[in-house]
Symmetry: D2
Subunit: 349 residues, 4 copies
């Protein structure tokens, strides 16, 4: 049912298109009495907002949510929580070209096929990365609540354009805008982005997300395990093409005796000596930090000319997309990862 | 809700524990009139069944499903389809050790915490790999139906214990029991497995799965895209720790201009020149082969002694698991991947 | 999950409180290309709107929906459809009394218990009858689509304050505002309402709803039959306290030989000679008109003093609610019945 | 999705046909550690079982559930709980007549249309009243758990064949097999049943169900209120054609001042002086006894000849059903009402 996540505790509906009147979300199932710090939420949303860095698109939406319902005097009231963000530039530009000349790497063609011409193609419509803003409103509220319960979720960039950050994820990144722990790697990444930008191109990367102090015993067997649930929500972010938990694909190269996390004792508590499992066994949290990585493909929107096919003439045609775009969406995707992780965990707690 | 998948078209419930009276599944939502070839299904189940190869556990369950309901004269009748497999060796062995000495890499500890002592710990209970048999019953039936609709799903092994098969996935594997396309890689993999077995250890690997002739336009935006749905179901298989679609994690290293699949024409049909997207754009199929890879961790069950913690004495204790185990579960996981992919796709078609 | 209906084809979320910034709804799962006649929709909403008749509350909200997403050039675009209605009088009145002195027959007390003080008590909050406006937006759109498919849904009043309309439901009512077929019954009902109004009291009634030309074969066995589904949605309307299909409670007094609808032929088509089943057998439509009646309790809001208990002082206290209220909500509930019936049927077609 | 109830806490799947290998159910979502007294459960199932009274069908199924999974040493283990009942007389009789000559009042015709000939028509297939046995297994287990939590659920017969029991429901009925409080009414009802039986006919009735000590605050607004939820599950019972809560349809005849339940104090606790609301306000329990009545139509299976239409010849044809049937299903439906009520409440607690 497309854009409604119907979970165990919460239902989340994300609505809106890139250039519709508004985008927004409804979060249903929250108990009454959850505090919402709208200032802190706005700060969080700014990390995702475009137009503030050399690496991001200059579209200058404010992304200031308006709460329509569900909130009373700063607390949830038990009724569904709805917040919207008005789109400023509705229909300002002519996007009709996208209807006949689909952009490679975008959902233009699949939307045309699925919605047989009725789709809102302007700016990618409902498939626009802009729809991650409502995800961040929902997730940002939940992040605050989890923090209150002692559960903290942080994400960082581990790779951009092939440059990897070798640092272990043992601290929350200081620079929340471009959260790379290793200074040299960070510098190299920024250079890669600048070069891609100069060439009208884009780069991708890998984001690592960690949840600390998640109690052991969270998650369900089979279809509602932590991995199922997190993966299901992480793939709601358009650019994600892969996810791995703990050692992930590396585990496939290890022996069982190497990959199994031996049990040990720490201050009388049972822990594992390593964390190849990423904090999850049988879909259920084991008390170790929950850890996963998501692969973010390079933004498909680039200035370089690309080959497409004209749907009307059925001829190959070169496509040049005007307007300036994100050369690297990875930094702005970091808070989105934190947001969807928060939603995934909260729904199972 | 743990073990019930509540999808768009179908509901699937998987029940049973490793040593309960039976394991089984109910598939609800199938239209009436779907043919079920039980002989072909049995063949399919044999590919997953243990005890038939040097690389698999010698547990000799027959895995012959008994259909309790939903089937009439070889066709679905519209009512929920339930099939069970009786467990032969119910409670034959003493598993009480697992309750106090959790096996590393298994769900013994997390189940103990989640179910506070009431879990069925024998043989891993509901977390046992044995529960993939009911997944194969459900998926095997759907595979037959998809095949009838012209959609074929095949999986193959691309890596075991670090040995990679460099072949492109351009043909269905002939050897369905150990489906590796490259003969040299296959030989090397088998050697790795034999060595691990000899040392009481295990190895993991990577499975690649492809769906051909899936019509364009399948999948929903946001939470019910093909990636969300497939990931959600693939992670129901206990050993999976990662999944990537198309170029996956490699895409994160490419430029947008490299990763975007340019559109071209093939016999008048719109295709993409490359398939880095794995056949999915915006969560929706684009008519190219759907392609993903799943990372399978080495079986946690090994004969080598491992370090655990005794939950009663709260002391570190060496654990030696008796009985013979799968040195490599990867070949038997291949049909399981096909099964869950079939379920994921069918639910969205 | 409270206010999200997660159906077979559609998901419907209704949000808002009586005095929040806005009320609204998101309808997800609609295919692209469904026409929405907003003028006709506005006409439909007017039938529910307050303030236009002697029998309704003078609150003069315009109930003009603003579409935020999902609609493009008058057609659905495949993305979730969100529409809101701004509340004019947000917080204009002092409702704090409702927090300590719950109104009998309202949800004031149960909300206080459930949301432990955080509920939005103003005007009944999320429990207000005002929330039937978003139901009518969603249902009104679906009514248009069903009409296009040849399925028409009409409701009428069969009883108010004990006055019954003996007419058979063999025609759509002309007067859509007060749809009673029998003129004498109508007159008597209006007198009953006027008298109740004069005495600061209210009256209830019974609404009968019929769907014609619903194809045979719609509905699912067990939990998703037509009766389950319609009942589930009809009870979303706050004032409903009972529902019966076809002969309903009268069927309980009949013999099987009387109640069973014998089969007959009509122009070669199989019909039933009577329609005690209300068009439903085994939860599935049989091609006869679908028929049900819903009992609407008298509006709990009355001007007469009532006995309540002060939650702070724990003393019995007389409650007098100021403001003018609906003496009879039944006429305005008629389009709501049509709306929820349309949603229930569409979800199963 | 037909026969899977996907609730807030639990998922329930009911499978089987009247003459399939087995009927059964899977209850998923139960926490580990819930005691299941299988002897008490068997006693409960006997109240529903046929063949034990003059008023019931002589089919002598034992209805002894076999637990396949989810139960360990008398307690739930956290995994899905599956129980089945083997059908003894599978395909013993020739039912092929039902395929061409649909029985009035049964789902024979609607199943034929919906499943276009593939349905399992023997004995009504999945639509058979026999499927209430698995509902009773699931509900019987939950009844035990609710009882442990202090919540008791009892149902009684208030009317059969027009004979009404005027007694207030202020005590649990002693005679669990034919639970009528008033002795004279009981006698008259039995006579009505005997007469109908003698004439090859059947009678219906009304069942009243009450839940005591349900905590206040249970239920959700809009679509998951107590009324929505109970109605949804009660209509899973084939013979039910109506449901009303508290004063129900009578409330529609009252003034607001009469129907509103004034608040009062009882030992310092807030209660209502009357209980026209049936313990529910705004879909949420208010601490008063929850009360509803369900209309049970007369069993459609009768010995009297009836008019049907031959689907092959398209001619009107007289139908005489051989075999002996329930002249009155109402007493056996009483435990079923208790069972579904338990499931509905437990899912929202």
């Amino acid at each position: 049912m497309s854009s409604t996540f119907h979970g165990n505790r919460i239902s989340l509906t994300v609505f809106g298109q890139s250039h519709s009147e508004a985008i927004g979300m409804t979060l249903d199932g929250l108990p009454a009495g959850i505090a919402v710090d709208t200032d802190a939420l706005q700060q969080f949303l700014m990390r995702r907002a475009p137009g503030r860095h050399e690496w991001s698109t200059p579209r200058t939406e404010e992304d200031a949510p308006e709460f329509l319902s569900g909130l009373k005097d700063g607390f949830t009231c038990g009724a569904p929580l709805t917040a919207i963000i008005r789109n400023r530039n509705t229909r300002s530009r002519d996007y009709s070209m996208l209807k006949v000349l689909p952009r490679p790497g975008h959902a233009d063609l699949t939307a045309e096929i699925k919605y047989h011409g009725y789709q809102d193609y302007a700016g990618g419509g409902h498939f626009s990365g802009r729809l991650t803003a409502p995800l961040c409103i929902a997730g940002g509220i939940i992040l605050q609540e989890l923090e209150r319960q002692g559960i903290s979720i942080h994400a960082r960039i581990t790779a951009i354009a092939g440059i990897e950050d070798p640092s272990p994820f043992d601290m929350a990144p200081e620079d929340m805008e471009f959260p790379v722990l290793d200074a040299a790697a960070k510098k190299a990444m920024l250079e890669k982005i600048a070069r891609a930008k100069a060439e009208g191109d884009s780069v991708g990367g890998v984001i690592e997300c960690m949840a600390c102090n998640l109690p052991a015993g969270i998650g369900e067997p089979m279809f509602d395990g932590l991995e199922n649930q997190i993966a299901r929500l992480v793939f709601a972010v358009p650019a994600v093409k892969g996810i791995e938990f703990g050692a992930g694909f590396s585990a496939a190269r290890l022996r069982g005796s190497e990959n199994n996390d031996a049990y040990c004792l720490e201050n009388g508590n049972i822990r594992t000596c390593t964390n190849h499992a990423g904090g999850i066994l049988g879909g259920i949290s084991n008390g170790m930090p929950l850890l996963f990585r998501a692969a973010i493909k390079p933004t498909p929107s680039i200035a370089k000319p690309q080959q497409s096919v004209n749907l009307k003439t059925r001829q190959i045609q070169e496509l040049t997309v005007s307007g300036r775009h994100d050369p690297c969406i990875v930094p702005r995707a970091v808070p989105v990862m934190e947001a969807v992780t928060a939603l995934a965990l909260y729904d199972l707690i």
